[in-house]
């Protein structure tokens, strides 16, 4: 007998896709009112996702019972398209809803020009819909399509202000994305040619460690690493994220890269799982250490506030790579990795929003000349600092809990007799210090003695939303057990 409410899950899933698409279409068709549609849509989607998660958790604790697959139009795989909801996708949907709502509220204040408003809202709502569908997609081709929706709307969002810097950044971002998508698509084609199915569950049952799978794994992973800006394919990230408008940067750094990472994780936990060898794990881990060090050093050298934040994304994603060899020793560690990514997304989005407020007030984001504004806007600096503490992995934030669990997994490999584990432990622990150093660079000027000048007025949304989201990132420290339990509702995962 299924738990109460389980029969509503399929409708809830299909409804979420329908709702996100409807909001996006409505905003596109009615650009004059796009911001009103956007605000109502954001509230509705968030409420829907939260309701769905309550339903979903209620059907636990058996992962097989909770995870739900919906055949669109009644066509079962391999013929039809399947929507797929499990603990992993549920967690990321909630994350997207929280960051999405905060970004929407922030944008009410940030995007005030009437023309810009008509361009921003439809694009952003398409991006959000794309992300929701990405997390719900259950087959490789659908994943490709949703990934394209996300990428293209992201590119347009980078460009929408129309300045020369924004357009050139967007073009570079577009090329990178096309390259990444093509690489991914080729991998999909290879898999389809070999096995004749696209559905991930069916594929997983059929794959073995053959040459085709290897080739497909290389192509798809490389494409996604490019999109997720994982070291050493990260060079495009800082210019693109640094030059985009603040709410867009927040979404790019918080959600879009996380979405690509989600796909990598999904593929390697399922279809490509047989291919992961310890040597490969060590290679990935080494890349992670390099990303941590290199990204942090760049963040320490960068002269602009938003560049610091963007490089910090490169560094923080290093942790995710470092965690890869840990997952080979302790397969259960994947939940820790996802929790880390969630917490990072919350903190990173709030840092970007706070940076946007400061940039708007000062008219620029050159750190050396930002002191006056930093001193006059303690609330924004506090948001920056609070989210920064989460990035450093210090209590009482979500970052601390994530760091604790990562460190536990790292020490676990050491105790299991792996020498290289010492390197992972050092990287996980030491990365926090580097983060502290670059967060301090952003916060310390506000304590310096000197003139204070609040600069241009900002709307209350821009004043308060960063602080609110940073508080959520901090309180995520209390959500550890809930998140890990939700993630445990993923069938097939260890």
């Amino acid at each position: 007998m299924s738990p109460p409410g389980a029969e509503w899950l399929p409708a809830g899933i299909a409804g979420l896709v329908g709702l996100s698409l409807a909001v996006a279409v409505l905003a596109t068709a009615w650009p004059r009112q796009a911001h009103r549609v956007g605000l109502l849509g954001a509230l509705a989607i968030t409420a829907w996702v939260l309701g769905l998660s309550a339903l979903f958790l209620n059907t636990g604790p058996d992962p097989e019972a909770a995870a739900t697959r919906v055949a669109l139009g009644g066509w079962e795989a391999p013929l039809g398209l399947m929507l797929h909801l499990d603990g992993l996708s549920m967690t990321l949907l909630v994350l997207t809803a929280v960051v999405g709502l905060a970004t929407s509220l922030y944008s009410l204040g940030y995007v005030h020009d009437r023309i810009e408003r008509r361009q921003f809202w439809p694009l952003w709502l398409w991006l959000w819909a794309g992300l929701n569908m990405l997390f719900l997609s259950g087959d490789a081709f659908n994943l490709y399509i949703t990934l394209e929706v996300v990428s293209l709307s992201a590119v347009a969002l980078v460009a929408f202000t129309g300045t020369a810097a924004a357009v050139s950044g967007a073009v570079r971002y577009l090329l990178i994305n096309i390259l990444g998508s093509l690489s991914f698509l080729m991998g999909v084609v290879l898999l389809f040619g070999e096995h004749g199915v696209l559905d991930l569950v069916l594929l997983e049952a059929r794959t073995e460690a053959g040459p085709t799978e290897r080739m497909a794994a290389v192509l798809m992973t490389a494409g996604l690493m490019l999109k997720a800006a994982l070291f050493p394919l990260h060079v495009w990230l800082a210019p693109a994220h640094g030059s985009a408008p603040a709410p867009v940067s927040a979404v790019l750094s918080g959600l879009v890269v996380t979405g690509s990472f989600y796909l990598i994780l999904r593929l390697w936990m399922g279809v490509f799982a047989p291919l992961a060898t310890p040597a490969f794990g060590i290679l990935v881990g080494m890349l992670g250490v390099a990303a941590l060090v290199w990204g942090s050093l760049q963040a320490l050298r960068a002269g602009r506030l938003k560049s610091i934040v963007a490089y910090s994304t490169v560094a923080q994603f290093g942790y995710l790579l470092v965690a890869f060899p840990l997952m080979l020793v302790d397969p259960g560690a994947w939940r820790v990795v996802v929790f880390f990514a969630v917490v990072h997304a919350l903190a990173k989005a709030s840092v970007f929003l706070a940076a946007g407020t400061l940039q708007h007030a000062a008219g620029h984001d050159r750190l050396a000349d930002l002191g006056e504004v930093l001193r006059a806007r303690p609330r924004t600096v506090f948001a920056l600092g609070l989210a920064g503490v989460s990035l450093m992995g210090l209590p009482f934030t979500g970052g601390f809990i994530a760091k604790y669990l990562l460190l536990e997994a790292g020490l676990g490999t050491v105790l299991a007799g792996s020498f290289i584990g010492v390197l992972w432990v050092l990287a996980i622990a030491g990365g926090g210090l580097l983060a502290a150093a670059y967060v301090l660079r952003m916060v310390a000027p506000s304590f310096q003695r000197g003139r204070a000048d609040a600069g241009e007025a900002v709307s209350p949304w821009m004043d308060w939303v960063p602080l609110g989201l940073a508080t959520v990132a901090a309180l995520a420290g209390l959500a550890g057990p809930l998140t890990l339990n939700t993630l445990a509702l993923t069938p097939g995962a260890p």
């Binding site: 303690p378 506090f382 503490v389 450093m392 210090l394 209590p395 009482f396 601390f400 809990i401 760091k403 604790y404 669990l405 460190l407 536990e408 020490l411 676990g412 105790l415 432990v425 622990a429 030491g430 926090g432 210090l433 502290a436 301090l440 310390a444 304590f447 310096q448 003695r449 000197g450 420290g477 209390l478 550890g480 057990p481 890990l484």
Partner: protein, 506 residues
């Protein structure tokens, strides 16, 4: 979750007002003062209530799951109450002092916000029921103190802040790693008198030794053990109430309290002796005591001399713990309180001299006793207490430490105590002598009167009363050490209750 609400209320009595103060506009001085004093007073009352409950034998416990198998645990045992009451009392006094000290200066909302966070973290440390909870509050303390250290915003303050963070965050990571490791081995146990690692002693002896060293590095930076102490003398650029709080209650004491917890409630004295860990700690503590005193002798800046004196005095606590016998532990624990009361008096006095007369150096103290007799009297009491003159607080400590050394069969520690007392006298008597007997020919600079007008007493009453209170307290805890509710009485109760050592008798 018996009585857990009380522990939470104690935590939130400073956290709540602290957060509220952050959002107060600068000019709402009355409301800010009300919040500050209201929070401090509420905390004092709640801690008194808790004290009463623990004396009656009630259990207080609160837990909240953080991670699978790992909880945030607040608990109240006699030891945590020792530290909690110390911080509640001294916080109240320091709040009054700080309000007076910062009157008319900018950015007070920020200051008092972090000030309250700092005290919440300290009380959290006191009430922590396991190592992970301890770590959480310990790191929050690091973060909450930094804005106080750099409060003045001068380049020197920012440099001190950077150094402070470099030391404390690095040691924090060492501590973090050690605690995760220990938890992997032994589980997330709560603090247990006598320790909870006995089961691992045979199989993991070396690991436990390494972990102990890591833990001591983690706590030793805040406790300013040589050679990890360099940040402390530099961090005294902070405003006087911050220095007072840092040295007497919050940061330095948090490190010392951590060491006490690890030795007594994680490893247990017996296991620590067996693994040869206390011997090493004893040597480090002895070196720190002597080294701090010698450095203090060389400093002319009054606050700097006090800072080096802290390095030396806090190691008395560590010394007592490392002696690992009941009398030594009594000496160490009671010094946690005694040093706090005495050192806060001295820092308040130094702040009064600096604020009222612009005096920062010992060489400028000549004749100050005639201009500010009450402050100078308090300073004298504090200094004599530190030297260990009976019947002042410091004497009680040194007496028990000496007995503890004999009990542990280590008479060389007596030599350390005697030498350190001589050095204490050598660096504390000169300012006292200059103050009372020195002559001042020129008229005094009066920066306080210049900007705030004439004062009724020798200085602003909010600066004077806290000094008199803590000085009197230092005298009273020494005089009435024999009472059951004196720090000594309470510490004896702890040792009797928590350390079931058979040979114990007073």
């Amino acid at each position: 979750m018996d009585g857990g609400w009380l522990l939470l209320a104690i935590l939130f009595s400073s956290l709540g007002p602290g957060i509220a103060i952050f959002f107060l506009p600068e000019h709402r001085q009355g409301l800010r003062t009300a919040l500050n004093l209201g929070g401090a007073g509420t905390k004092l009352a709640l801690v008194a209530f808790l004290l009463d409950g623990v004396l009656r034998g009630d259990e207080y416990y609160f837990s909240l799951p953080l991670m699978p198998g790992i909880d945030l645990v607040l608990a109240a045992d006699a030891l945590s109450l020792l530290f909690a009451s110390l911080s509640a009392v001294l916080w109240f006094v320091t709040t009054v002092y700080a309000i007076g000290y910062l009157e008319g200066s900018p950015r007070r909302s920020r200051f008092f916000g972090f000030f309250s966070l700092c005290v919440s973290a300290t009380v959290g440390i006191a009430l922590s029921g396991n190592l992970i909870t301890f770590l959480i509050f310990y790191e929050i303390l690091t973060l909450a103190t930094w804005p106080l250290v750099v409060h003045r915003g001068t380049p020197a303050a920012l440099r001190a802040g950077r150094l402070y963070l470099a030391y404390t965050l690095t040691s924090g990571l060492v501590l973090f790693t050690a605690i995760v490791w220990l938890t992997l081995l032994a589980g997330a146990e709560g603090f247990t008198p006598g320790g909870y690692l006995d089961g691992l002693a045979d199989t993991h002896a070396t690991t436990l030794q390494i972990l102990f060293v890591l833990l001591m590095i983690g706590f030793g930076v805040k406790a300013a053990l040589v050679p990890l102490h360099s940040w402390l003398p530099i961090a005294m650029v902070a405003p006087a109430p911050v220095s007072a709080l840092l040295h007497a209650v919050a940061v330095v004491k948090a490190g010392a309290f951590g060491i006490i917890r690890v030795v007594n409630d994680v490893y247990g004295a017996e296991l620590a002796i067996e693994l040869g860990l206390t011997a090493g700690l004893l040597v480090v503590a002895a070196i720190t005591i002597i080294y701090g005193s010698i450095q203090a002798l060389r400093a002319d800046d009054l606050k700097q001399r006090l800072a080096f004196s802290t390095i030396s005095q806090v190691s008395y606590i560590i010394l007592g713990v490392a002696l690992a016998g009941p009398l030594g532990i009594i000496g160490g624990l009671v010094h946690l309180v005694h040093q706090g009361i005495t050192k806060i008096t001295l820092f308040f006095c130094a702040g009064n001299f600096a604020e009222t007369l612009g005096i920062h150096r010992i060489s400028e103290l000549n004749g100050v006793g005639r201009r500010m007799p009450l402050t100078m009297l308090a300073f004298t009491l504090g200094a004599l207490g530190m030297i260990g003159l009976p019947p002042l607080a410091g004497f009680v400590t040194k007496w028990h430490l000496g007995l503890g050394a004999l009990e542990a069969g280590m008479p060389w520690v007596l030599g350390v105590l005697v030498l350190s007392s001589l050095l204490n006298a050598a660096y504390f008597l000169p300012p006292v002598i200059r103050g009372w007997l020195g002559e001042r020919r020129k008229p005094w600079n009066e920066p306080l009167q210049a900007h705030a007008g004439p004062t009724r007493f020798e200085t602003h009453w909010m600066l004077l009363f806290p000094v008199i209170f803590t000085a009197a307290l230092g005298l009273l805890v020494g005089l009435f050490a024999g009472l059951e509710l004196s720090p000594l009485g309470w510490v004896s109760l702890i040792v009797r209750r928590d350390y079931s050592l058979p040979e114990f008798g007073l």
